[in-house]
Every structure is written in C-alpha cells, then in structure tokens.
C-alpha cells in the first residue's frame, strides 16, 4: 500500500479546544464550577436536551438534567430504558472512600487510573473523576442501591486488578444492574413528573447540524419503521462503546456504534479508536456460531488462581494435577500483583502461554481460573456470597460446576477506551454535541482498570455534564427550539432514507451477520491483542474488500415499514466496517506499545510493552475528511503536570 493512509492535521490547544481549567490539579474542577455560567431555573425550563442511550451515563444525565429543570427527551433502542448494557456489569464500582483504612485517597485513585491507563489519559479529567467518586456512592445508597454490607451494617469493599487497596463497592456480581436500576428509577421519577419523555424502540440514525451546531436527530421508530425528526438545544450521546465491531465481544448483541459513527461523519473527532480492551476472563469460544462471549467478573481474580499444566498437552483431569505440576504463570511473572495485574497485562500473558502451546485442550485457547483452593480455605458459604451468581452462570453455559472443576477462561473484547473526542466539558468538536460514558474517549487512557466504567458513566451523567452543558446553554437564552421542517432536518432525513433504501435494494446473497463475523475475524486476528505493521496493513486491505463486498452482496429481507431486525443489523454492520478501518489506521499510526495497544515491533527484551512518550504522548483526534479520503490526524498533547509518567511495572 503506497497511498497515504492519513493526513497530518493540527495540534489542539489545551485551553481553546480541550478547555482544561487553570490551576493546580486539585483545584481545577472547583474553579470550573465556581466560574461556569449558570442558567436560571426559569430559563432551564425553556431548554430541551436530547439524550441518546439509557445506560448509566444516559440515565444519570437524564435524571440529573431533569432535576435541574431542563426538558429531556431520552431515546433508547430497547423496549425499556432499564435494559441498556450497563446492566451486565458484574464486579463493582470504585470510589476513594477509604472506608477500609488501607491508605486510599483521591490522589491514589487518580494515580492508579492514570497508571492503569498507561499514561495516555488527560490528567485533569482523571483527577476530577477520582474527586467525584465518593459522591456517587453516597447518592446511589440514598436512592436504594443494595450494596454489599458488613455485619455491622456498613458498606463492604473488595479489590480489583491493578490496585493495592480495597475501594470497590459491589452488589454481589450484579453491581451494574443495581446501579442502572437505581439511575433508571430516577428517570422514571422525572418521567412521572413530566420532565423526561422516553422514546423506547427508537434508533438514532443521524445527528442534525444547523450552522455547525448539533440541533437534533433523525430516529427510526423500530416498530413502524417511520423516520422521525427531533429537535433539541443540545444533543448528548451516551450510546456506549464499539466493541461489537469485533463481532464476538462481551457486549450485548445489539450494542452498536452507529450514533457515534454518524457524529464522526458529521465532523466530531474520534479519539484513540485503537484502544480496545480485551478482558482476560471470559468464557472460551466453543463453537463457530457463538453469538457472544460471556464475561466472568474480574473480581474472581481476588480469590481465583490462573494456571495451566506445566506439561504441554497434559490430558489429565485438572483436579488430578498436583500443585507442583501447575504453572501459576501470573503469580510467577508478576509477584507483587499476582493474579490481580491489570486486564491488558493478564490478557497478554494468557495469550502468550497459549501461543507457547500450554493452552487447554481441545482448542488450545483456554486456561484455568481456579477457585477450588479458595473454597477449601474460606468455605463454600463465603465464596457463594461473593460469587454465587457467577458460578451459576458458568454452569448454565458450560454444563460444568466451578464448585468441582476449575473454570476455563480466555480473553475477549470487552470495552473501548477510545470514543468520540471530548473537551474537559465533555463536548465533542461539534458545538452542542456531547458524549458521555463509554461513548467518549476521555478517562481511561490506553487501558481501563476494573470497576472504573460504572464510576465514569455515573460521574459524567450525575455530576459533570449537568454543570458543563450550562456553559453552552447560558449563551443561548431565548433561542427557540429549532424547526424540524427546516432544510437541514429534511436533508438529513432524506440522506438516512436513501441509505436505508440502498441497503434494501442490493438484494445479494449474504446475510448481514456473515459480514459481521468476517469483520470480527479480521479485527480479532490482526487488530487484536497484539498488532504489527504487517498484520495491520493486511487487515486494512481485507476490511476495504469486505466493505465493497458488503455493498454489492448483502441480503436484507423484508421492508422498511415494520419491525425489521435484519435491516437494523445491516445498518450497524456497515458502520462497524468503516469504523474497523479507522481502528486499524489508528493502530498503524501509533508506533509504540501502550496499555491495550501492543505493537509487536515495540517491546522490551522481556516482552513488556515499550511506550514512546517522546513521540506519542498525545491523543489522536481523528477527523473525517470525506468519503474515500484519508482521515485527518489532529493531536491533543498530553501534558503531565501533577504526575510523571513512569514505566508501568506490576512486578
């Protein structure tokens, strides 16, 4: 490939573009809050805000904005907002409460998150996140989230990967469910009060811009197929991550990138798309038609030990292999953190032993996650209380009981640190368009620590966006709700309509799902846990061929005027293919290894990732440059004022 893959763009200004407040890191958020323009209660009632997505970020933002007095229109493709994929988060939520008296603090949570992210996150955002974390727990408890408690009636904590303190709050293995249902209960409360309107079974297919500002959306009613225009004074995307580009991931099967990808094509920058987290402990793939990978919570690594037989191809039953003939490779390689190393480190280690030929039969792509020692030491009752529902789930899927046999696990795509680029105010590069939660790129750098996604989603929604959106709206007092009969709305709707008609008219031979599986294979094999220039160039070529084939040969049955799940899938997959191309280009351009992004050419002699701060201490903020043209690479320099990036070591 000799053509240019990208075009060098500009360097973003930390004040003008990124909007990072002045002052020492501990004071930035306070200073911001003290000086941000406010909108009076009477004026808030005159503003309408569109929120897309009802997961932790979208639900908490909707509730918080409605409480302030704004009119909120909340859109979800689900039949009920309660079903968003935050519901599946298992392990927990971090907060710098230091209830355990083990030396935790806001500073430590901040530092752990920066280090966990391999120093590729924006310092000011991460500090703010750590600072807000305790309030999230206070509020969640106040609205009835049944967190785990000690016998004395106070809250319990546990540990997660990449940290040495116990700061994770949890509700058995269903923390995401309980936090989401809590946030949704507040959505229902404000729905009952008439401040939120909920639009279930509506999928957002484009963002409408008027004079360069986001002023509305085009949504498809998934029941009637009708395209509808909705106007708002601002639009918030809380649509989650894009891990499903890899087809098999731990995401829900309908999770998709369409809203953020459409926003990108309308001019919003896309930050660090190649930072895709592969979670070490998912159930192994067992058959070719598997529809998803199921996660086994990282919390299991608190008590579980990861191992393979020391003898390659050992066919003995795991319980018959004595301890000295087992290779506890994480404990051996990383004595300080042992089984609790961060996700990227654990995933790569598991892949490494499997690539060395130690993987478990029959596929060679599995290792043991063994809790039998812990059951013996702590007793069944204690383990049951901590992980009961996870054990049940494992047995349902595999037909094997973790009470009797060690679990088998293998890494799977889980979370995307990349996402729409946003400023400190969570605003994208399109004025009036905000991105929160996993949909943005902001807080996790090149690797997210466990139990931090729930924290970020709720921090963005409950506590950050409600302040920062005021800065935009305060300048727009008296501005009328845009007219949905305007040319901009009509034109955008027409473009959406034409795309749907095109998908339906191809009438080829291949169902959308098959394209999705092919894309997934390309990305997993060549843009997955480890990448090289060679594999990436190969992937790029294959994705481009796949795109051509898709638009020639996809078969979408049915029509557009009813429930048509094939049509929904086809539209999402078309976007995943394009996004897959950008993920690959981003991975190609970043000639270093950091966090989840491991380039084979850049490793130490011991096989550890080699970060190159001199050249790559920046956020890649990709800008769309028209169909068929190479994207523009803008750079936001990462300035470390409070801490000094070090070589990450968990040994």
């Amino acid at each position: 490939m000799t053509e240019k893959l990208w075009i060098e763009g500009r360097t973003l200004d930390l004040k003008e573009d990124s909007r990072i407040p002045d002052g020492p890191i501990e004071e930035k958020w306070t200073r911001y809050k003290n000086t941000v323009p406010l909108v009076s209660p009477a004026n808030k009632r005159r503003f309408t805000i569109i929120v897309v997505g009802s997961g932790l970020a979208g639900a908490s933002a909707s509730a918080s904005l409605a409480q302030l007095g704004y009119n909120v229109l909340l859109f979800t493709y689900h039949d009920s907002p309660r079903r968003a994929h935050s519901i599946a988060a298992q392990g927990g939520i971090n907060a710098a409460k230091n209830y355990q008296n083990d030396g935790d603090s806001v500073w430590r949570l901040f530092y752990d998150t920066m280090k966990g992210g391999d120093f590729r996150a924006r310092e000011a955002n991460v500090y703010r996140l750590a600072e807000i974390s305790p309030q999230i727990i206070d509020y969640s408890v106040a609205i009835g989230v049944p967190f785990a408690r000690e016998y004395g009636g106070l809250l319990a904590n546990r540990s997660f990967g990449g940290v040495l303190v116990q700061r994770t709050f949890y509700a058995r293995g269903q923390t995401g469910q309980q936090l989401l249902l809590g946030a949704i209960s507040q959505v229902l409360r404000w729905w009952n009060e008439g401040r939120i309107k909920i639009f279930p079974r509506h999928e957002i297919l484009d963002v409408v811009l008027i004079d360069g500002h986001a002023k509305g959306i085009i949504a498809r009613d998934l029941i009637t197929g009708e395209l509808k225009r909705y106007a708002g004074h601002a639009v918030v995307l809380a649509t989650g991550g894009y891990g499903n580009a890899y087809f098999l991931s731990t995401n829900a099967v309908n999770s998709n990138a369409t809203a953020i990808w459409r926003a990108y094509k309308r001019g919003a920058y896309f930050g660090n798309p190649c930072f895709v987290q592969v979670h070490p402990t998912a159930l192994p793939e067992t058959h070719e038609y598997q529809s998803k990978r199921t996660l086994m919570s990282e919390s299991l690594r608190n008590d579980g030990r990861v191992w393979v037989p020391r003898k390659k191809g050992d066919t003995r039953h795991p319980n018959e292999i004595p301890h000295e003939e087992r290779w506890y490779f994480l404990e051996e390689w990383y004595p300080a953190y042992g089984n609790l190393v961060p996700r990227d480190v654990a995933s790569r280690a598991i892949k490494k032993v499997c690539d060395m030929g130690y993987g478990l039969p029959p596929t060679g792509r599995a290792v043991y996650l063994d809790l039998l020692d812990a059951i013996k030491e702590q007793g069944r009752e204690r383990i049951e209380a901590k992980y009961g529902n996870l054990f049940e789930m494992y047995e349902k899927i595999t037909g094997e009981s973790p009470w009797e046999v060690p679990m088998k696990i293998y890494p799977a795509v889980h979370y995307t640190m990349g996402g729409l680029w946003v400023s400190y105010e969570l605003q994208t590069s399109i004025p009036g368009l905000y991105a929160i939660g996993e949909a943005n790129f902001s807080d996790h750098g090149a690797n997210r620590l466990g139990a931090s996604a729930l924290m970020q989603g709720l921090a963005d929604g409950y506590y950050i966006l409600p302040y920062t959106i005021g800065a935009y709206l305060a300048n727009r007092l008296g501005e009328k709700l845009p007219d949905t009969e305007s040319e901009e709305f009509k034109k955008t709707e027409q473009e959406v309509k034409e795309r749907i008609e095109k998908l339906l008219s191809i009438n080829g031979n291949t169902p959308p799902d098959e394209f999705h599986m092919k894309l997934g294979h390309i990305l997993w094999d060549k843009v997955g846990l480890s990448r090289s220039k060679e594999s990436l160039l190969q992937a790029l070529q294959e994705i481009r061929e796949l795109k051509q084939e898709f638009w020639k040969d996809v078969k979408v049955v049915g029509d557009a005027n009813t429930i048509n799940q094939e049509l929904e899938k086809a539209g999402r997959i078309a976007d995943f293919i394009e996004l897959g191309e950008l993920i690959t280009i981003d991975a190609l351009h970043r000639e270093e290894s950091c966090g989840a992004h491991f380039r084979e050419e850049y490793q130490t002699e011991e096989g550890e990732p080699l970060r190159r701060d001199d050249e790559f201490a920046y956020v890649a903020a990709w800008e769309y440059n028209g169909e068929g043209n190479p994207p523009i690479l803008n750079k936001e320099p990462l300035k470390f004022e409070a801490i000094k990036p070090t070589v990450r070591s968990y040994k």
Binding site: A142, P146, G152, I397, T562
Partner: protein, 254 residues
C-alpha cells in the same frame, strides 16, 4: 464442551406479522443442532437459513444474552423461558433437549403484553407500574455519607434478593390471571426493606398497586406459578410483604 451428538429438531414457532394479524404456528426442521448452542443461537442459525432462502426470519428479542437485561423471553413447550429452573431463555442450552424432539415456541401471552411481531411483545405496561413510585425521591447533590445510616446485613441481602428482578415478564406469562404481582411486589419489598425507602413507603404501595390494575394486569390468586418460572428466583413472600405494606398504608390513612 459436552460430547453429546448433534440433535435433529422440529420447531413449531408462532408467526404473527403485526398486532392486528391473527397469527399461526409454522413448522421448521433443523438438523445438526450442536448441544453447546444456546437456544437463541439455535434460532440465529435457523434465521440465517431463512434469510438465505429469501424468507423473513423469526422476530425475537434479546440483548445481553447473559440473563440479566430481561430483553429475551418467550414460551418454550408451555413454560416461560423453557423448563430449566431459574434460567432465561438466552441461558438455556440445547444440551437440555432430546434428539428428535418437537419444540413449541410462542410469545408470552397477557392482555397487558400485546404481540408486536412473532415472538416480540410490548411490555411497556411494566414501566408504567414502576413510574408510579418505584423510586426514592432524593435529588442528586450532596446526600449524607453512604455510611451514615447502617443497614443490617440481613436486610440489605434480602433487599437485593428482590431488587434483582430483571423485568422480563415471565411471572406475568406464567400466571393464569396474567398478574404482575410478583414484579410489582419485588420493587415494593426491595425499597421497604431499606431505611432509605421508608419516607415514601405508604404512598408507594398504594400508587403502584393501583397502577398495576390500571395497566390491565390481573390480581394474585396464590397459584405460585410466578415463583416457579422467575429466572431470578424471586420469592412469592414478596407478594405477602407487599400486601402487608398495603394494609399498613391503609391503616395510616393512605
């Protein structure tokens, strides 16, 4: 992971084009069903076959496929989510079926759950119940420190047992009266067991039970069918607790 041989199945599936259509069963033969497939993966594969033949695939809903989002759910051989105890249909695997078996698949049926297409139903009525008080009215801001009010571990654990409801509607489908008593009482009980829920408990129970009736769900006649089919094992004692809450509210003049 099992070494059982592949299955040959006959599927009788409810097909209905839209809410107004009368609907009918259609029969499909499926060969080579891998026992390690989940029930929904089996339908995915059947659908891919249908699409390749230019036919409309069977419309059914699912999302997380981990048994927690509550999106999936239909009746398999007369049982909501199938015959396996405490299991959503997305977690039901084909190893629990026999070679040569005929499987009948139809939507959850209830007046309050109109069929939209094939196996997809409209469960919005459940949100309309929760809307009427299934929450604690506390504003985002600065609530007291989370450890200010201790909650006995026993109560917190019990509250969780009810809060774990996934809102799938299996309880309604299983009930001869199509009652949403288990669903409604789960939320009432969850919040009644926590001190934080106490300021609004009387209003909550009165409003939510009224909303349940208004939405077209039947009353509870203690058949226990809901408890049997609930994929999260929610106990029918919640209904007793909600009744107690109701009379408590009455005595207090609500």
């Amino acid at each position: 992971m099992s070494e059982k041989k592949n299955l040959r199945l006959t599927l009788k599936v409810w097909r209905q084009d839209g809410p107004q259509d009368q609907g009918r069963f259609e029969t499909y033969e499926l060969d080579n069903v891998n026992p390690d497939w989940s029930f929904l993966e089996m339908l995915d594969i059947l659908n891919m076959k249908l699409v390749r033949d230019g036919k409309e695939p069977i419309a059914f809903e699912s999302d997380c496929r981990e048994g927690i989002c509550g999106t999936c759910g239909f009746v398999v051989n007369g049982r909501a989510h199938g015959h396996l105890h405490k299991t959503t249909v997305c977690q039901l695997h084909m190893r629990h079926f026999k070679d040569g078996e005929t499987i009948v698949i139809e939507p959850f049926r209830a007046t309050a759950f109109p069929v939209l297409k094939d196996l997809i139903i409209d469960r919005t009525a459940m949100d309309f119940i929760l809307k009427r008080g299934g929450y604690i009215s506390v504003n985002v801001g600065s609530p007291p420190d989370a450890n200010t009010i201790p909650v006995p571990k026993h109560n917190a654990d019990k509250a969780f047992d009810f809060a774990t409801c996934i809102g799938c509607g299996a309880c309604v489908a299983a009930c001869p009266n199509a009652s949403a008593a288990l669903f409604t009482s789960a939320k009432i009980t969850h919040l009644a067991l926590l001190p934080h829920g106490h300021p609004e408990r009387e209003k909550r129970v009165a409003e939510m039970l009224t909303a349940m009736e208004e939405q077209g769900f039947g009353g509870c006649s203690n058949t226990y069918a809901c408890e049997v089919e609930c994929p999260k094992g929610i106990s029918i004692t919640g209904i007793a607790k909600a009744n107690l809450e109701y009379w408590r509210a009455k005595l207090k003049g609500h």
